[in-house]
Subunit: 302 residues, 2 copies
Amino acid sequence: MSEILVVGSLAYDSIQTPSGKVDRALGGSANYFSLASSLFAPVRVVGVVGEDYQSQDIELLKSRKVDTSGMSVVKGKTFHWEGAYEGDMNEAITKKTELNVFEHFDPTLPEHYRDSKFVFLANISPDLQLKVLNQCHNPLFIGMDTMNFWITSKLADLQQVLKKVDVVLINEGEAMMLTGAKNAIEAAKKVIALGPKALVIKRGEYGFVMYTQDQGFFILPAFPIDKVIDPTGAGDTFAGGFFGHLASLGRKPLVGDLKEACIRGSILASFTIQDFGVKGLAKVDMGALEMRTIQYHKVISI
Amino acid sequence: MSEILVVGSLAYDSIQTPSGKVDRALGGSANYFSLASSLFAPVRVVGVVGEDYQSQDIELLKSRKVDTSGMSVVKGKTFHWEGAYEGDMNEAITKKTELNVFEHFDPTLPEHYRDSKFVFLANISPDLQLKVLNQCHNPLFIGMDTMNFWITSKLADLQQVLKKVDVVLINEGEAMMLTGAKNAIEAAKKVIALGPKALVIKRGEYGFVMYTQDQGFFILPAFPIDKVIDPTGAGDTFAGGFFGHLASLGRKPLVGDLKEACIRGSILASFTIQDFGVKGLAKVDMGALEMRTIQYHKVISI
């Protein structure tokens, strides 16, 4: 078993969906990722929050044995995102983004974080992703996420990060925007040409597409959920389950490991979308995950 | 091996996609269905065309041993559909629908058609679907397609047909419209409550969802295609491959047979979308289908 380092946002989200709304619920990519990955392996989180951040929200991670010594609390307010889902549950409409303390985030890793073997760079500015990577001593396996905003505003930095990572986990729209491709299949080969050895395209309710240099495509559907309450964090949960599984093996991942990791991530994400914010995910234990994994194999087996 | 009866449209389509355009190319649900299903089993087609219908287009079906004695040629012009795909290749934008001779189509089955064991009612008016069913003596397995237009304009007739069929094959938007559900998963159970024993929801580039009373969900992705030329007819090709496989077995289908049938249909559809109109499909033989089926199993295997 190896340790996972994650850098990303720690946030409060105000979310409206056809099922209702929540105000300033716990969110942010690093929270979703940590809650998911800590089911499998020790996790170290790097991020910044404001003075308004609730101690219970730090305690939630600590109760999962997540190392929060790389979280800094600074003067000001925590990153706040406000979004809504209308009709298409696969895409959020951003109503407001208040960066607050996140605007001047300058990640510094505690000394004992630097030998982490599995490193995940969640969706933050690519120059910060590079800063984190430069502080890591000898990572075994590096993954990243990004978003449309960085693809348009910081493409050169983003291209640098892409050259340094083993796997990219992005959604379908981002993959097409990054490559100019017209669909996920065309995009897959073009992303690999930018540097990473593997690509995972998250397709929301439709599942995922993995593409590796060695073995080509691996594509499966999502676990069927008839009532989606709030899709926020599904992608970060996927990444957390994916990395958690790989770190639990503690070896340089083989393609077969990546396939299992996709399934773990995909199934964990199906819990996230069944409640608002991190509530659905926070309740999951290995028993619930195993049960749903058995059901999933039935759904896809011929 | 059993015979398949199909009733549906025989048409000329004018189609524009990002890859180009064709004018009055051979199309219509019964043509796509027949070309696909005749790879597996004998097919009997019922439909109507106008005086402008080219003899080579009848010959194409005959070359596949399709029985065309139920095709009537009447005074007037053949059904003509004009559509375009822009951006979203999963949904056509209809520019023009000229029913022409199709407007007064009143299907009468030749006597020797009436004992067909497998019956597929492609996307035509539900009252005509009922008329065809009433002329069949003792079908073993009945399937149907429909579309948004009939769901809004002829719901009562449609509900009658739904009660009489074994399987419904429709696309995701149609399934949601028919049931008021917000996604394919929720829609599946609600369609089954309307009568049919099995439902297949076609998801375009994302594959399919099958739901059966007995075994619940069976969900798989589509075969990965990086360049989609023209998606027209993919759904009818799916249905043709699906029915062809079942008829080739010649028994009352088991759930396992339906699963294999979905895969056959899905893979055949991947050939259709690689060229305009029926051109991609018309070239496929069993060898090409088997080759792609082997590749497909690699893509979905863990």
